[in-house]
């Protein structure tokens, strides 16, 4: 197991390097000369040339990439064009907000999704099963930014239970977390249901029944632990969609997180900030994926055998 964790951590390195490469290449697609863009319209030719020298833009592409990787590794993500502050600093003042939002949303996704999925599976074809599956189907189809607006309309405008926007208290978290977590909850519910149904038809569940185990124990002790194994992977994937979704949710609820920083930076053409933020969120996702894999491995020991 220890060997597996070490190996899995080492596997992250090429992925992270690849992510940096892709971000780096995408930024190469920016039309126009970055030195001209940075120096501004009024700069003289000499000034532009000096800037190009300074930024290493006259070096071959692969050298620029190595330089960039080196900078990223040392925590230097460049300087914001707009504010003049280091990009890393801008990101890390915003990151905690986004992480908190993502945390509560993944709680909504897993808790709601698992509960709904279990109820659905144990009462297959009942009214509650059918209604849960219809709601889940809607949950997958609703655009989350629209759901956010509708929640604001319902619970912040019509019934003034929650604040319309902003961040700070627990009340601020509720609507954004529901907005961001619903689609994932729907997917987790569908996955949990099919996984539970599959497990319930397994031989070892019959063995447990033959032993005289109570129905509730059969569901929560014997079936659930096995059914969770494939669900973990789905939750991990949903976490990615969720991190991406923070961009929309933060925009809807005017939350000053990383997502909003990205959008503002794109609007202002503050490319170092865009580049840095996307990199940081992606690396966060790569790390989360590693933990998901390890959790999967811990629960599913049978993998060892094969």
């Amino acid at each position: 197991m220890f060997v597996f964790i070490i190996r899995r951590m080492l596997q992250m390195i090429p992925v992270v390097l690849g992510v940096i490469l892709v971000v780096f290449l995408i930024m190469q697609m920016v039309p126009g000369d970055p030195a001209v863009l940075l120096a501004g319209e009024s700069a003289t030719k000499e000034q532009v040339a000096q800037l190009r020298e300074q930024l290493g833009l006259n070096q071959p592409l692969y050298m620029q990439y190595f330089e960039y990787v080196k900078n990223v590794a040392t925590g230097d993500l460049g300087t914001s064009v707009r504010s003049g502050r280091p990009v890393a600093e801008e990101i890390f003042t915003r990151l905690p907000v986004t992480v908190e939002l993502a945390f509560w949303s993944i709680i909504v996704t897993t808790v709601l999704g698992l509960l709904a999925g279990i109820i659905s599976a144990t009462k297959q074809y009942s009214i509650s099963d059918i209604s849960i599956m219809i709601v889940a189907l809607l949950g997958v189809s609703l655009p989350n930014f629209w759901l956010g607006l509708m929640l604001i309309l319902g619970f912040a405008v019509n019934f003034q239970i929650f604040p319309v926007s902003g961040w700070g208290s627990f009340m601020h978290v509720v609507l954004p977390a529901i907005t961001l977590g619903t689609a994932g909850a729907a997917i987790v519910a569908r996955m949990t249901r099919s996984s539970m149904l599959e497990v319930i038809s397994q031989d070892y569940i019959r063995t447990a029944k033959a032993k005289g185990v109570k129905q509730t124990y059969i569901v929560y002790k014997h079936a659930l632990k096995n059914a969770l194994i494939p669900v973990i992977t789905v939750v991990g994937l949903q976490f990615g969609a969720l991190l991406g979704g923070t961009v929309l949710t933060e925009s809807v609820f005017a939350i000053n997180g990383l997502g909003r920083l990205i959008i503002d930076a794109i609007r202002m053409r503050d490319l170092p900030v865009v580049q840095g933020s996307i990199l940081v969120v992606s690396i966060l996702f790569v790390i989360v994926n590693m933990f998901v894999d390890i959790a999967y491995r811990l629960l599913n020991k049978r993998v060892d055998l094969n």
């Binding site: 690849g18 920016v30 991190l243 609007r267 996307i278 996702f285």
Partner: protein, 301 residues
């Protein structure tokens, strides 16, 4: 002459036989699909949207861009079924015209994603070894970008526009297609007929495109349908963020973005475009799920 004629005839016969068995297969799929009530509902929803998009100029009661400041911010009424927006434009007409944009953007980006993804998947699966490793690592890296961030990164470089949204969402769809096609290719290339054709001296390109591709088409179609739902959702999201369609374009996401400023006074502006997105995505999901069950009985219990 006679021998070659016989041969040609034989080939032609084979062709006909093959075709009729194919027709039968699709007929079977159609029958399976018809039995699945949810899939039928989905198909009707999708057909309805395409019809609306096609007939937009005929059925839309107003010009979607016609500003009428006298009648701005009106709620739903007999004149304006979905009300009017902050510039007095008829929301129903805008939603109707919006279906053209959303379906076009969705379809084009899925097409981009499918073409690139299928190509990568075919090559990786067919040649295996180093080529496979390189391509699939690249796909893994694309998948390491959470959700729509890859699309956002591309748009940040290319600049906000509907065209760039198509490219970005297209690239966002590449990994799904590549993975599915590679998987099908791996199982398909082991089959005997591939060896037989290769023994006849067919080129790799011929084998892949003429013989294998048609046999792995069904998972591609299923994925295409489901991806179209995601693409429409993503494209609308990007337009909502101001990264795609620009005002006064009647794009659903952009309309929603307009509507958020009037959530207090005229909530209908944001409500209807959202419903329009939700229903087409629902329809595509239902239809796609049904298609998968009909084409691949194994995926069902």
């Amino acid at each position: 002459m006679s021998q070659s004629a016989v041969q040609v005839k034989g080939e032609a016969k084979k062709g006909v036989l093959k075709r009729s068995s194919k027709v039968e297969r699709w007929l079977h799929v159609y029958k399976q699909l018809k039995k699945n009530k949810m899939a039928v509902v989905g198909a009707w929803i999708v057909a309805f949207y395409f019809l609306v998009a096609l007939l937009a100029p005929i059925i839309a009661p107003y010009d979607p861009l016609q500003i009428d400041l006298v009648n701005k911010l009106q709620g739903p009424s007999w004149e304006h079924w979905m009300g009017t927006d902050d510039k007095g434009r008829d929301i129903l007409s805008r939603v109707i015209y919006g279906s053209q944009l959303s379906l076009a953007v969705g379809s084009v980006s899925v097409l981009i994603g499918a073409v690139l993804g299928v190509m990568l998947g075919l090559i990786a699966g067919y040649y295996g070894k180093l080529i496979d490793t390189v391509i699939m690592r690249f796909i893994d890296i694309l998948l390491a970008f959470p959700g729509i961030l890859l699309a956002l990164a591309i748009i940040s470089a290319l600049g906000p526009s509907l065209i760039n949204v198509m490219i970005a969402v297209g690239i966002f769809s590449v990994p799904t297609f590549a993975r599915i096609v590679r998987g099908s290719m791996l199982s398909e290339k082991k089959k005997e007929y591939v060896d037989a054709i290769r023994a006849l001296g067919a080129s790799d390109f011929h084998i892949i495109v003429v013989h294998i591709l048609p046999n792995i088409f069904s998972p591609i179609i299923v994925q295409g349908t489901l991806r179209l739902a995601t693409a429409i959702l993503t494209a609308a999201g990007l337009s909502f963020l101001g990264m795609g369609a620009q005002p006064p374009s009647p794009e659903w996401g952009a309309m929603l973005s307009d509507g958020r400023n009037f959530l207090w006074t005229a909530p209908h502006i944001a409500t209807f475009p959202g419903l329009a997105i939700a229903f087409i995505v629902l329809g595509l999901n239902l239809f796609g799920d049904g298609l998968r069950d009909a084409l691949d009985p194994r995926s069902k219990k």
